[in-house]
Symmetry: C2
């Protein structure tokens, strides 16, 4: 999407590859929204570190970073032996996998790169194929998000007020995003609408990343406390809820997503506001039999007990790097916290799942398995 | 309630009067939970300033502060003329009223002091009566909260997990609190239970004040993001919701309270978890015909766009006073925010209203008007 920094506008992806320098270029997402910076990782180990330390985050984005990282590592191989290259590529894969061990998308992406490489008959050919495969993976990821936008844009009528939760935007993907894709498509169609961004405590990805994205795209929006969504719905000020997902269970139609998603779905149902989930096909899990089986990560209490931000003008800014967030303790110092990071929304609260191949009812996914699994 | 600072435990009220020095003594609530400090206001103007700047907050607490402030001002009168004292008392009242112009509780409290004073036949008698009336107001306020606790404690069974929102604790009252009163009473009865404190963005009174209160009282508790309550309910980890209120409409049974309360009520209903509201009788409004008529204050966007906290060790603490919170901007700098401060919960979501004279169904209040209005 487009990014304007100090008056200069450029098109930007969250993850790209610089073939001349053999570097992966990433938006430094930990500095957003207070500072925009692109980092270039000089080798695959640095790419793995950037995945691990969350310079890049979001399943499609880290999958692309891993695919590029594997191409990068492969292209740095200096021998002429194909078995030597294969051994080296496996080491690179292992390093990139270990960067976010629970994520499945990078593994699938790298498997694709490895499969494509293997058709090459020389080291140079395999190296070229690895990069071509990574580029193709990234382009297809963008095309998928664009298709989500094409299907979803019809849900946003002119004048609509849309609520979104967390960041399922282009920063989390290579470009366009999932929950944001219908917004960007509707904007291109000339529709006018307003987006409420749940701030999404405790990590505030809505207030930081989604709000930044929408501001860059010139989409009318406001941040709200997570507590305010119910009140706005009650007053008739929300027409549509659009969120992303970390895992959609085809067997049950349940949707796992950032903590607080379930609450918005319950509120939306009470107020008969359509609640849609936008996902690439890789998010669909055809195996798990129940949302109860999804492990709910409990993250560090410090996230709930404080907040990351930039000290305001007049404050003690000079001791911190410009744009570098500081952590402040908000809560009572002697209190602890529970911090479940995800929740599970049942299918009866969900109007539809927006995918690159169309919009489906949550309970329809399993029946459509043939179509959906084939297109992944 | 009891407060332990550096190993010393003392009983403490949020508002008291020091007759020897003619000062109102207030817990400096803006410094909590990071610093405990009691301030003594030297004259009624300083008491009004402390109400205005939120050194003291919470309807019952500012009512007591205003009553004491009026006694303080009256006692500083140096003349011997009763009409002169009456004129002076009116000036004092006006100053204290202007400190929080929309609050009705201070007005009622000061009317009571003025009425009692007028029985005195000399300046000295009236001054003594003013202080006696203010003391009585404060004691009755505490007795009311204690009675709320007596009625409400039965709702907390041994082993219960209780969710509360915002701070309706003893800091907001003179002592004991409203939503917290059943907790403190249940604790005295030897029951064991656990409290989840919604952090209550944007001002985080749950994470700061309620968590501090419960920690001081040794009640097991954890802070949660407002987003997490639905997930905990879904997993069967909440047995009871207890909140306070800013205004309860007797005609409709609607409850106005801190933004986010409505959301918790909707979630509680979905999970068949009893949702109770604890209030003193002064919170009941017998006039308004609809919750739609309650003006919902929109507060400064900065509250949503950032957070107040104490910079962690290693951070730029030295440039701030110890314990003094700093404001950090969390959200995207070019984004705005909506910040409704209250919401309205309809009666069908409320299991009961806990008052000093018993627990009532929300729609029962109007029928009980005789009893309830007489006891105010």
């Amino acid at each position: 999407m487009q990014v304007t920094i100090r008056g200069r506008t450029a098109h930007c992806r969250s993850v790209t590859f610089d073939a001349a320098h053999n570097t992966v270029r990433l938006i430094e997402q930990r500095r957003l929204p207070h500072q925009f910076q692109i980092v270039a990782t000089p080798d695959y180990r640095a790419t793995a570190a950037a995945i691990a330390n969350m310079t890049v985050r979001g399943a499609p984005a880290i999958a692309a970073a891993a695919a590029y990282g594997l191409a990068q590592g492969t292209r740095a191989f200096r021998g002429a032996s194909l078995p030597g290259l294969a051994r080296h590529a496996r080491r690179v894969c292992d390093t990139l996998k270990r960067a976010r061990p629970t994520a499945v998308d990078p593994v699938h992406a790298m498997d694709e790169v490895l499969a494509r490489m293997s058709a090459g008959e020389t080291v140079a050919e395999q190296q070229a194929l690895a990069l071509a495969a990574a580029e193709e993976f990234a382009h297809r990821s963008v095309a998928d998000c664009t298709a989500i936008g094409r299907h979803g844009a019809a849900l946003i009528r002119d004048g609509a007020r849309v609520l979104t939760h967390c960041n399922a935007g282009w920063l989390a993907c290579v470009d366009v995003g999932t929950a944001t894709a219908p917004m960007y498509a509707a904007q291109q169609q000339g529709k006018r609408f307003h987006v409420y961004c749940d701030e999404t405590r405790p990590r505030c990805q809505g207030a930081t990343l989604t709000a930044w994205e929408l501001a860059q795209q010139g989409i009318s929006h406001e941040v709200i406390a997570d507590n305010a969504a119910g009140h706005l719905m009650q007053r008739g000020e929300v027409d549509l809820v659009l969120v992303g997902s970390d895992r959609v269970l085809a067997r049950t139609g349940e949707v796992a997503n950032k903590i607080g998603t379930y609450t918005k779905a319950v509120l939306a149902r009470r107020h008969r506001i359509p609640f849609y989930v936008a996902i690439p096909l890789s998010t669909i899990d055809f195996e798990l039999a129940s949302g109860r089986e999804i492990p709910i990560e409990e993250r560090a209490p410090a996230e709930v007990l404080g907040a990351w931000g930039v000290v305001d003008r007049g404050g003690p800014r000079r001791t911190a790097r410009p744009g570098a967030p500081v952590y402040v303790r908000v809560a009572n110092p002697s209190s602890g916290a529970r911090n479940p990071a995800f929740d599970v929304t049942p299918p009866e609260l969900i109007a539809g799942i927006i995918t690159p191949v169309g919009i489906f009812k949550p309970r329809e996914l399993m029946r459509r398995r043939g179509l959906l699994a084939a297109r992944r």
